[in-house]
Symmetry: none
Subunit: 233 residues, 4 copies
DNA sequence: CATGAATGAGTGTTCATTCAT
DNA sequence: CATGAATGAACACTCATTCAT
């Protein structure tokens, strides 16, 4: 998410439409593609529908993205991988205790990704990875590895500072990912599958899961005060 | 742990030659279909490949199943919905305390479904439900509803017997489903996505999750002794 | 060009239509494909048109040939490469003098290939080889090499028997190919380009070219009596 | 052998700036187009690539040539048809004997066209003519007819002067064209098809073919001394 | 009962041509 | 003059489903 490019300054004397076009087209296509990929999956999404929803023709789409696969990669970069730089930065500058850091991380994820359409991408990958090896390896390198590394760094920090008990971080990662994954799936699949749409309050769910995690992770001395006495209403 | 296979009892009263034919073909087809649906998903599985793997021709498949969709339904019935009768039975006859019942339920699920190919079906539904509404409503009625009902009955039993605190069962259901879902996804997608194949021991994972659940569900007095002091190695 | 396969003997008691179908479909497709490839070239020929002309649907074509490229290869094998075995055989058993052999070779080529649609294939390759490398290497291995080898064997035989002067056979090959190529091009392109359709009698043209060749190739002693005093009417 | 380039004389009387612009762009485009048309054929050449190679945008190309087809026509005019005026002139002023004239004609063709990229155009027409009727008729009128007429005039001159035997000129034309065509094809296709790149020396090939032709065309009295005793090394 | 040949609608991608800037 | 963004028709190939044998 770089700021708007500095060209804008010398753009000022040019007609606005032209310069905005240059930004607008791919953006609209990426948004349409995100929606459709999340709704239907990679294979079932037709490029023509993406183009239509973005208000352009099929040919125009291929002007900006050389293939459906590259379009998908661009969607992932725009919505997920692009965020890791910022998050790693935040990690480096964070000064509080590690349980707070973990809490901050999960809630931050919810704000930026989990609560948006982007949370549909992990769901999508679950099923399409097998059928599109190139997609799988792309996602592995650009999302899973940086994400896992970030979580592992948090867990390691906790252990280094004596806040967390010694643990196998590559296992701990799963325990952190599980609630995120569940929320994403719930948002994009479960609630449309289940007829009684029990309202699952994401913040409360995350809080409860964090509390549970802390019981497993933390030394008794640093166990944070549970925000909620018990996670069930 | 699983009972002796129930087929034997049912088989005795059927004429042997005819009935075995009728079972044999569909049985092989269902097995092949389960494998392929789980591996590739519903849409990406080609009926011809199912037929080939079962050793019959494409035409023969359509002799037994009028469409790809019906084939899928049959797979689900064979592997999941067919089990609910037995489980509801067990529930009715269960005499122990409810935490044990929940534990028994999760581990039983793991033995019969979670550890088998059948656990790929929920993963599959996550993505295909949106594209095949008839599939979604079928799965909703034949799997989600009976499953949720069963879990709700357990939770309700716990509350009725004073073992569980009062709770919103339609929310509690999610907390029970979450670890099952996570294990299924881990088995069928995550471990193939993640490069460092951290060994996730399903039994230990289920135990740990159960302990966490119990902290949330149980009255302090009935809180079961945690099997593991802490869930991390 | 193998004989009809021996299965035919046990076919006798089967309904004729079925067994003939098995032969008929690919045959009709190959014929239609030959016509269209020769008329329009490889790239410009649409598989759907091939199918239509053969009286089947597009899908059926792909039932017999996995791709347009393989269809083309099959056309070439059916019409050209398949003949080389027979010709090499004839060469081995030929007992006359070499000038006669060469004459026999050129006229034989005209009867079997030159005068048929198949003579359009070399023309086609001239232009498509650059754009379809796989096609080029296929043609190189299955047509050019065997063909050139056959001609070189003839030239070598002539030299070995003292009928031909010593020569560089890889150059001599071109002199033999040139009139064949010209006839093929004339048949498939030139006569449609030229408005005055001067009738070029292929037999007379070949005879004249052969006489010219013999003046170059032969020892004065074996120079065959020119069939025509001079090649021009 | 070629004269000093005639452009210089024509250029002197034109205003420099404007005309150079007008020539420069189309000139680069025509050169790029010739290369690509010859390499890939008419249909397979993309106008965008032509523009790129000429260093201009696709839109600019269409500024100078209203369509791909007109671009091709311009290429042909620039490289082939434009030469006929000069050649007819030379014919009118030629004073030597007709066999020499024919020899001069063939070698002149080789210098100006055969040895350049332009010799790829006849090859190209062989295949594309069928698919682009407008192209075929253009080529027919602007190249084939003038070319054939020129050759016919030479043959007729030979007959009129008693140097050549009486012949059907519309057939004789083919005998003159054949070696030119073969050389052009060899240059642009055959040598890239054949694995053993036998070096074909164009001058020697033309000489040999001319000698052969003379045996057919000439009255014994005017039969020119063969330049080479026999055409094979 | 079993086969496998036949179908045809559907999809990702290319490219000549147009036109607003 | 020059650009390059936009278009949309075209095409190879796939696959669930049917049906004659």
């Amino acid at each position: 998410m770089p700021d708007s490019p500095p060209q804008d300054t010398r753009t000022s004397d040019r007609p606005i439409r032209r310069s905005r076009r240059k930004e607008a087209r791919p953006g609209e296509l990426l948004a349409a593609a995100l929606d459709l990929f999340v709704e239907k999956g990679f294979a079932a999404t037709r490029v023509e529908e993406v183009a239509q929803r973005a208000g352009v023709s099929k040919g125009t789409l291929f002007l900006y993205f050389p293939s459906k696969l590259e379009l998908f990669k661009a969607v992932v970069r725009e919505n997920i991988s692009g965020r890791f730089a910022e998050w790693n930065d935040k990690f480096d500058r964070f000064e509080g205790n590690t349980p707070d850091m973990l809490r901050y991380c999960l809630f931050g994820w919810w704000e930026r990704i989990g609560s948006t359409q982007a949370s549909g991408i992990p769901k999508l990958m679950m099923s399409e990875a097998q059928n599109f090896p190139e997609l799988a390896s792309f996602y592995q390198h650009e999302v899973m590895q940086p994400g896992n590394t970030l979580i592992k760094r948090i867990l390691q920090r906790g252990m280094d500072r004596g806040e967390f008990r010694p643990m196998d971080v590559s296992y701990g990662v799963y325990l952190v990912l599980a609630p995120m994954l569940f929320l994403a799936l719930w948002k994009h699949s479960l609630n449309t599958c289940c007829d009684d749409h029990a309202q699952l309050d994401p913040h409360r769910y995350l809080s409860a899961q964090l509390d549970m995690l802390m019981h497993g992770f933390c030394q008794p001395t640093t166990l944070p005060t549970p925000t909620l006495e018990h996670p069930l209403p």
